[in-house]
């Protein structure tokens, strides 16, 4: 293998890939703009739906009577903003509710047997499948809650009790985690998943483009007749795919940090959640190492499989299962969000990297497990590259035989007798 040739081929591959619109969109633009757009879209949608709900007028039917001392509550119901009390509904109210002519039925019933004077019950009949109906229920429920609180406060005052005494038993909570802890937990959950997915996305199209795409464009043979050894060609292609995977991962991490700081934090000003986006240099280093490990693994696996494809479309169909396999360790890791990387979990490829990222963000570094993770990943990459080298040694592969089937190749060549 010659470094100069690898360098020339690498630049050539990279230049070609960065001029392909789909690769730039998937490997650069999506990782950068995914989070800001997702967050913006999410909050816009929530605000829009809330605004829409608030704009609805809740149509109520009130049945029954309240004790005389509570006529104020009935008046409040009639005067409630966004509520219209319907009085001229004919026939069965439940049927009207089912038909959508009503949003809720408020059934009032005095409780004369109750030891509390003037006690009553409010029954709210609504349709949970209808947003308008749920909204009407919430509005009435909130009004009744407010009225009850006011009534209790008045009773308490009559008994000489202040607001705190009226509560009797109180619960006070205190969160000892800092804003940074909260952010780290959030980042740990998101990054360990998204970094893996983004690196895989970053490798996906370049791996197909540089193998199956090359065959489809009839440039395979052009490249195979240039004056360099085949090892240099494979290495340049491999490094170029891995570079684009690392680029997608790195851009995604930066975009997430910026999004949390610039987009999410301002949106949370009214909530009690405070975020502090800061990543230690060591954590950043571990994450970069993780992105490199992931990219090297995905690039090798995807290239080996895509090499058999006769066209770009074939390549996409063949590499997609690898893409789904990526989700398996993520799902496994997701079951144990609080668990740290151990010497046992470090033996499972991808799951180990996912947990390593999560730990690093939380400031946890279990070095012997990290060393095992690196060794396992390196072994996997070496195995895949050895397979790629073995595959390339067969000339039928270069001329696009085996009908684009890895299994046919395995049957005829890898497992053939003699």
């Amino acid at each position: 293998m010659k470094l100069r040739a690898v360098g020339t081929l690498y630049r050539h591959e990279l230049r070609s890939s960065l001029r392909e619109r789909t690769i730039v969109i998937n490997g650069i633009l999506i990782p950068i703009f995914m989070y800001p757009l997702l967050l913006w879209g999410m909050f816009t949608a929530i605000t829009f739906v809330e605004g829409l709900n608030e704009g609805f007028t809740s149509r109520l039917a009130i049945t029954g009577q309240l004790p005389a001392m509570h006529t104020a509550m009935r008046d409040s119901l009639h005067a409630l903003d966004g509520v219209e009390v319907l009085t001229e509904i004919e026939g069965d109210l439940d049927a009207a509710l089912a038909r959508g002519e009503l949003d809720a039925i408020v059934a009032l019933a005095p409780l004369p047997e109750s030891p509390v004077p003037g006690n009553f019950r409010v029954e709210l009949i609504h349709d949970r499948t209808e947003t308008r109906s749920t909204n009407a229920r919430d509005r009435v429920e909130a009004l009744v809650e407010r009225y009850r609180a006011g009534w209790l406060a008045e009773l308490g005052r009559d008994l000489g009790l202040d607001a705190a005494d009226q509560q009797i038993f109180t619960v006070r909570t205190e969160n000892i985690s800092s804003a940074r802890d909260v952010t780290q937990q959030l980042l740990g959950m998101m990054l360990s998943i998204f970094l893996i997915i983004m690196v895989a996305i970053g490798c996906f199209l370049p791996a197909i483009d540089t193998t199956a795409g090359e065959r489809e464009r009839s440039t395979w043979e052009t490249l195979m007749t240039v004056g360099v050894d085949r090892g240099s060609i494979v290495m340049a292609k491999y490094l170029h795919v891995a570079t684009l995977g690392i680029l997608a991962g790195a851009l995604n991490v930066i975009a997430l940090m910026v999004s949390i700081g610039s987009v999410l934090r301002p949106l949370l000003v009214d909530s009690d959640l405070t975020l502090d986006v800061a990543l230690s240099p060591l954590a950043a280093l571990v994450m970069i190492a993780a992105a490199v490990i992931l990219a090297l693994t995905f690039a090798a696996a995807m290239m080996v499989v895509a090499s058999f494809a006769r066209s770009f479309k074939d390549g996409q169909a063949m590499v997609t299962p690898i893409f789904y396999l990526v989700f398996l360790p993520i799902l496994l890791g997701g079951e144990a969000t609080d668990a740290s990387l151990s010497t046992n979990s470090a033996l499972v490829p991808l799951l180990n990297v996912s947990m390593m990222i999560r730990d690093a963000i939380r400031g946890i570094y279990i070095w012997d497990a990290i060393a095992i993770t690196a060794a396992v990943s390196l072994a996997l990459v070496t195995l895949l590259l050895l397979l790629a080298r073995r595959v390339l040694a067969f000339e039928e592969f270069l001329t696009g035989s085996f009908d684009g089937s890895f299994w046919r190749f395995a049957r005829e060549r890898l497992f053939a007798r003699g």
Binding site: A5, T8, L9, H12, R15, S16, R19, E20, R217, S218, T219, E221, T222, M224, T225, V226, G227, V228, D229, E395, E396, L398, T399, R408, E412
Partner: protein, 272 residues
């Protein structure tokens, strides 16, 4: 590169290539052929589709490995010295397309550089090619945007970008319009005049007649005849190459050794 005019640039001896096919079993695509090509000579391989022309040329360009026999390009063995063979070779065929996302100039730079053309003379070489093939007007245009005629020019220019002593043109005029095909023939003649050894495969008789100094007739993997056009005329009694070809393929296939003065039996060295 300086080459002695009588030293073969390409030497093929008893070259054979068999493939394994799951349905057909062992298939012999090239069955023990031998020939030589000299510097400044256009050597034509004439044959119908499936005759073994492309397989032969792919073995010479090291894309395929021979099952047996030997071949050298500028003295380098195609099996043991693949990289050196490729550096001395420009290979042009229907299956060697250009990179669509590169510009014409980038294409020439890439192929000159990757084939080891000296870096300090690379720009001058690319400029020379751009002028020679009249590419200047669209040198910064992407290949995917060029017309087929423009692509053809860039493709030939990239084949000779590293100034190799041996050139292989496998069915180079397939799919070209008349004007581009004529241009192609003109370029091959110019390259021959520059002293390049050229292997030219085609099934278009008129092209082979015009261009080739010597012609090898290939049929079902076997070289049925080899000689100059005049030698082939004399041996068959036919004037037109088309008739000569038909004579060999239909009447004398398998008995080419019976034709006096013509090398034809697989495994026999070429007539000098």
């Amino acid at each position: 590169m300086m080459t002695h005019l009588h030293t073969p640039a390409v030497a093929v001896h008893d070259l054979r290539k068999s493939f394994f096919d799951e349905e057909r079993g062992e298939v012999t695509a090239v069955d023990g052929i031998s020939f030589e090509a000299l510097p400044g000579e256009v050597f034509g391989l004439l044959g119908a589709n499936g005759a073994g022309k492309t397989t032969t040329l792919r073995m010479l360009s090291t894309v395929l490995t021979p099952s047996s026999g030997s071949a050298t390009v500028m003295g380098h063995d195609v099996v043991k010295e693949g990289e050196r063979v490729r550096r001395n070779l420009g290979f042009h065929s229907a299956s060697t397309a250009l990179y669509p996302r590169l510009t014409a100039r980038e294409t020439l730079e890439f192929f000159a550089r990757i084939n080891g053309y000296p870096e300090e003379r690379l720009n001058a070489r690319v400029d020379q090619l751009v002028d020679r093939f009249a590419i200047r007007e669209y040198e910064h245009g992407r290949i995917e945007k060029l017309s087929s005629g423009m692509k053809q020019k860039v493709s030939i220019a990239r084949t000779i970008a590293h100034d190799p002593p041996v050139l292989i043109f496998d069915e180079p005029t397939v799919g070209l319009d008349v004007m581009n095909a004529i241009e192609m023939v003109k370029v091959v003649n110019e390259l021959k005049a520059e002293g390049k050894a050229i292997l030219y495969s085609s099934h278009i008789m008129s092209e082979v007649e015009k261009l080739c100094d010597r012609i090898g007739i290939l049929h079902r993997g076997r070289l049925l005849a080899l000689g100059t056009l005049d030698e082939l005329r004399e041996a068959t009694g036919e004037h037109y190459l088309e008739d000569i070809f038909v004579t060999y393929v239909t009447e004398r296939a398998g008995t080419a050794d019976a034709v006096p003065g013509i090398f034809g039996e697989p495994g026999t060295p070429p007539a000098s």
